[in-house]
């Protein structure tokens, strides 16, 4: 069961290794990200899943240079974009990667656009900065981009201000801006959380269409497993600042190996008509990251926790070449095997 880590350096578009981020606060140092590794390929979608406070946004923000330093600090790790370091130094060969090589869209389109600039000007801005377009060129390109994002009457809309757009339209405009410089990676931080399901479906379809047109990679941060199932090729599940399970979307959904992943899936309503009125919540709440536990971050909530879980970190147990889980239950000496774990029978009765 215990495989070896595959060495795939150099083959990936983006490779993040052992990223650690902490913040100074009045209450002490918060260790928000505690050693995160992942990689993304062109044309693929990686979903990072986890609850609020697990460090998923901080992970991508540190890559984008969006962590305010101080109080933030990247204490270790590297992020290689086509083999070049992007952490801490966002200038590569004189051109900034943020906005040009990596585009980003945010959760709340209402507050992430400038209310005093027209939509067209905001989309044109990165083109002028990164591509050296003239204002006229950039504005015309902005209209094209709005059109690509399926905003009707793009030429008229480009002259309007954010308050004249609905939430869904603003998110389309954000996407147009993020892809304006043809980035190789689009980072989407909870892009549809603030939107209705009908609009969410439109935005997800749009992201997928644009991905197949441009071949960009997408890093999708979300807590909605339905969105993950719809969009992702690979899934990384984060908890308390660490990735606790990683694999293809099929691995993570159908062969879930970590108790937290199992718990999340059990806490979601299923589409079984016989199943109503009773959910299986994960009791408790995530650990305090001021003083993270010495062992597994999840052990306090884990129904299968053993004494070793409280003492030391589990390593990566590879279940197949791309699917690993960080849980002591995979250790050879463990009496319970994770493939025997089932919420309906053993624990919740």
């Amino acid at each position: 069961m215990r495989g070896q880590k595959k060495s795939r350096i150099g083959s990936k578009l983006l490779e993040v290794r052992n990223l650690e981020v902490e913040f100074d606060t009045y209450g002490g140092i918060v260790k928000a990200v505690r050693g995160v590794d992942f990689s993304v390929d062109s044309g693929k979608t990686l979903a990072i899943v986890g609850e609020s406070g697990c460090g998923k946004s901080v992970t991508v923000q540190s890559m984008m240079g969006l962590i305010p330093m101080p109080p933030g600090r990247i204490t270790s790790g590297s992020a290689l974009l086509r083999g070049q370091e992007v952490l801490g130094d966002t200038i590569i060969e004189g051109k900034e990667i943020r906005g040009a090589e990596i585009g980003m869209i945010f959760q709340d389109p209402m507050t992430s656009l400038n209310p005093t600039m027209t939509i067209g000007n905001q989309i044109a801005e990165p083109l002028q900065i990164h591509r050296g377009y003239s204002y006229r060129q950039a504005f015309n390109e902005a209209i094209n981009l709005l059109d690509m994002s399926k905003i009707p009457e793009a030429a008229k809309r480009a002259k309007q201000y954010p308050f004249e757009f609905s939430g869904g339209m603003l998110q389309r405009a954000m996407i147009a801006m993020a892809i304006s410089c043809k980035p190789s990676i689009l980072v989407a931080d909870e892009p549809t959380t603030a939107l209705d399901v009908t609009i969410q479906a439109q935005i997800l379809d749009l992201m997928r269409d644009l991905q197949s047109q441009t071949g960009m990679a997408i890093i999708l941060i979300t807590h909605d497993l339905g969105v993950v199932a719809r969009m992702a090729d690979e899934v990384a599940v984060m908890y308390a600042g660490k990735i606790i399970e990683h694999g293809t979307v099929e691995d993570v959904f159908y062969r879930s190996a970590h108790p937290y992943t199992l718990g999340l899936r059990a806490a979601m309503p299923t589409n079984d008509p016989a199943n109503q009125h009773q959910l299986n919540p994960i009791e408790g709440s995530p650990p305090d990251l001021f003083s993270p536990p010495p062992g597994c971050g999840y052990c306090a909530r884990c129904p299968w926790a053993m004494s070793i879980c409280h003492k030391s970190h589990p390593e990566d147990y590879y279940l197949n070449s791309g699917h690993y889980s960080r849980c002591w239950l995979h250790h050879n000496d463990s009496k319970i095997k994770p493939n025997q774990l089932s919420f309906s029978e053993e624990v919740r009765g």
């Binding site: 439109q202 909605d224 339905g226 969105v227 199932a229 309503p269 299986n280």
Partner: protein, 324 residues
Amino acid sequence: MVNHLEVPILETQNLTRYFDIGKKQVVHAVDGVSISVGEKEIMGLVGESGSGKSTLGKTILGLHNKTSGSVSFRGQALPQKYQSKDFQKWSKKMQMIFQDPYSSLNPRMTVGEIVGEGLRLHSESDAVKVKERVADWLSKVGLQADHMSRYPHEFSGGQRQRIGIARALILEPEFIVCDEPISALDVSVQAQVINLLGELKETMGLTMLFIAHDLSMVRYVSDRMAVMYLGSLMEVGKANEVYFDPKHPYTEVLIGSNPEPDPKVERNRPSTAIQGEIPSPVNVAPGCRFASRCPKVMEVCLQTTPELLPLKDIDRSVACHLYL
């Protein structure tokens, strides 16, 4: 016929709430809604943002004045416009749990003051007894009695929602409106709050109007489900039946856009995204409200507004010309 139709605990007749926004512009937030909720029933209310779900909930409780129509509680008509004595009277029977656990708790009040305020205003003047009841309720919702002296900012989102629940239930109301009680919470915590509400419903015999936009969660929680669009009800029926066998084209679209946590299902799902967005509720045109986005729109839909009428063979009401 089903029992709930005979003894509804809460019933609205043609309930309407318009907002006048000047320049002869009127927002049709709630437009002629007739709904009945039976004893100990959980009625789920779903719809996109802007469909008037929250306004309906608040109008039922008297937090908004009614423009027209009526609401009755156990057959007794509620006042058209609430005065403070009406609130004094009815808030013992009907309460509300709010969506945002961050802004719905006064940051300057301790948890004990927040939860005990209703008691102090309504029945109990003895401070010791208030304290006892508050401690009792805090433990009922899964908090501890010594949390009483703390302030809301010291709690997580899930814990705050529990405080909101304790505040709403301490007067032991019979009917509560839950306005998106879980949409600000994480998945694992959502399930905790849902199960807590379920337990309290069982022990207290509560009746609930459960407003949410998460369809699969509403199916899970509710006995019956009502689908709202632009101020009007589109479909009402048993939650499971509406979810798995939607009749109204809008319900179909809404359920079709809801992603399931199953990659195989999602891979094979055709692109079901409906074009367009919910239109503005200002000065709504005649005809079916959904006509502008409906994939099955007909000539008649643009001219006359379909009424919410029961279907023949099943326990379901639909407002759609396809079924007339």
